[in-house]
């Protein structure tokens, strides 16, 4: 039965059919699958399958990324309330869009992927000043500050990632907190993330999830 559920779920996600995906999950629950199994045996593997599929498949489009992330996040969130024991959390991330930028979607997708990968995410919203990224990261004890910027001037400007880097340096937090960035301008120029002082970037939410998990793990072992 599980194989069939996994296959149907993966297909629904691949076809960006959210209703179908939820139907698969609801049927699975009705047939006695536990919430834990839905998350760990269906949803997370699906994200992982999508990860490898999408990295191999340059054709994957925005709707697929979004749906994978969104469906995964929604299902996970719903299932978490049904968990018997709270799950183990890998790490914590504060995320927001750069100052002057109101494009919230990229952030949402990244959040969805992180949640489905058991990373705790604090959403700071849009148009977030550099100072706030840092104070909130300190407040929540975050491992990573994630900054989304969809426009050239918010990605490269003085008030975005550059300023966050300067503040971390000033406060001696550079070795504790990593900065990751993403959004259209970074996709056009794959070296841009270095220029603005970030530790990593990713072209899409699924890659972002992997990159951030890797960074957190590397930070915890070093």
């Amino acid at each position: 039965m599980l194989d069939r559920i996994i296959r149907d779920y993966n297909e629904a996600v691949f076809e960006t059919d959210k209703d179908a995906a939820f139907e698969v999950v609801n049927n699975a629950l009705a047939n006695g699958l536990s919430a834990e199994d839905v998350v760990f045996k269906v949803v997370i593997p699906a994200v992982e399958v999508m990860m490898s599929d999408i990295t191999r498949d340059p054709d994957a489009n925005l709707a697929q990324h979004f749906m994978t992330a969104q469906i995964a996040a929604e299902v996970t969130e719903k299932m978490l309330t049904k968990f018997v024991h709270p799950p183990e959390i890998i790490g914590r991330v504060v995320i927001g869009t750069a100052a002057g930028d109101l494009h919230s979607l990229g952030k949402r997708i990244v959040m969805g992927c992180l949640k489905a990968l058991m990373v705790e995410v604090v959403d700071l919203g849009v148009n977030v000043p550099a100072e706030k990224f840092v104070t909130e990261a300190v407040h929540y004890g975050a491992d990573v500050i994630a900054i989304s910027a969809m426009m050239v001037h918010t990605a490269t400007g003085e008030n975005g990632a550059r300023k966050v880097r300067a503040l971390l340096k000033e406060q001696g937090l550079e070795h504790q907190i990593r900065i990751v960035v993403g959004g259209a301008p970074y996709r056009f120029d794959n070296e841009l993330y270095k220029t603005v002082g970030a530790d990593g970037w990713a072209a899409d939410g699924i890659a972002a999830g992997k990159m951030i998990v890797d960074l957190i793990r590397a930070g915890k072992t070093s």
Binding site: D59, N61, L62, G100, L102, V126, M151, V152
Partner: protein, 539 residues
Amino acid sequence: MGIAQVHLTVVTPAGEQTFRVPAGTSVRDALDLTELRVRAACGGSGGCGACGVTLIGGAVTPPTTAEYMKLQPAERACGVRLACQMRLQGDALVRIDDPAPPSQWRSIPPEELIPSPGALPELPQHVYGVAVDLGTTHIRLALWNRKTGQRMATRRGPNPQGGFGADVLNRLSAAHGNPARAAELAKLARTAIVQAVRDILKRDVGEVTPMLKEIGEVIIVGNTAMLALLSGHGGAALLDPDHWAGRIDCQPTDRTAFQAQWFMPHATIHLVDSVAGFIGSDLLADLLATRLTDGPAGALLLDVGTNTEIALWDGTRLHVTAVPGGPAFEGVGLRNGMAAETGAIYRVCRPVSADISFETVAGTPARGFCGSGLVDAVAVLLATGQLKPSGRFAVSPGPDGFLLDPANLCTALFSQDIDTFQRAKAATAAAMVALLERAGLGWTDITRLCVCGAFGHRLDVANAQAVGLLPPLNPACIELFADASLAGAEIGLLQPAGAAVFAALGERVAAINLAQVSDYDDRYIDHLRLRPIDINRKV
């Protein structure tokens, strides 16, 4: 398409080209729409004699009196004709030994123009006027004799700021904090406009400098970013979301220098104020041209372009917004994208037998897709099942992309092009829904939908409906306008009330910033799917 189409083949020192044109068109008018123009120094009256071409053969009208007056008998014996006098009755072959030097400017096809109103301003002098639609991708303008109400000529050409980025923000960012660069961008647009005017004066009037002095007004409409870059003022405010609720001042601070640069000492240069944030005065011009607010509630206007603007008339207020439709609809940002120029695939037909067929502008070999061709291609591939509603190809097309014509690499579509298309159409459709919601209306309340901008007349409405770009309303409610912003600027130029008409419209406007509409992003994702918009769903 009532008028029969004929083929005009032109041989020049550079080679041979064939164009498809409506029968009855003069050779000059036909070529004025292309990059291959004849020489000319009058409005095509037969007065200058500059437009000589050699007729090799074909079905054309006999020589006119003007041709007898302007051409030597020896020339006539060799087949020399005046291109502005000779009309095509069937296919024809002509030779042009000395075409006009290459230029970016072309005439706007007359069928795209909207007639302008009857009442004219009282003018003792400086009777000429120029109406300009300053677009991100294209500049369109028309020269008028405001006294007689005669449109002398029109031009369309690329906005040369494109080198600084296809979209508005790249250009604003380039100018931001860099006065030299800002000046350069302003100069590019200013020079382009005056060059187009000069091109008209040279080719359609025959006199340049004296005529520039006769121009009494230049009225310019455009999106806020274009106005700011032209004037060199307002760009910084536009980059800051805190300023978007209200109107951003984009008036030039160097008016005298501006007039001097243009050699138009008597011209009032009038930049029509934009509405709010990125919502420009080109939208006001569209509203004037389509008379949207003269009709009943439930009228929607969509100006598709790099900066797509939308207005919804609810009977008392105009709800308006701007959305980054993305340059895709103007053919920019696709691997094989291009403007609707010679060789652009503008229509793709559903296969009757096995192959997909398509038509290009002027019927020349395909060089790429313009916006309407892209909409058609997506709709046709969706109908044949080669593209799935998710936007993925049923079978991955491989490194050369999906070729409409296997023998022509310029006809390839790539997965990324489809993704770009989906984003642009989703942003647009979701924005229309957001406006409906704000006005408390539903799709079924819409009785009129005016589609202006990039697609022109060429958009296939059924295909746009099938992919979810336009709502599946009764096609009789949907009207296509090719050059509405220009027409609106023309109204402003000619009305006795002048540019005050814009201000009056502006008063009725309620602007919406989609970034503050909480469920806009959910709608956007919903609309990514290639499927008809559900008009019965409550918005």
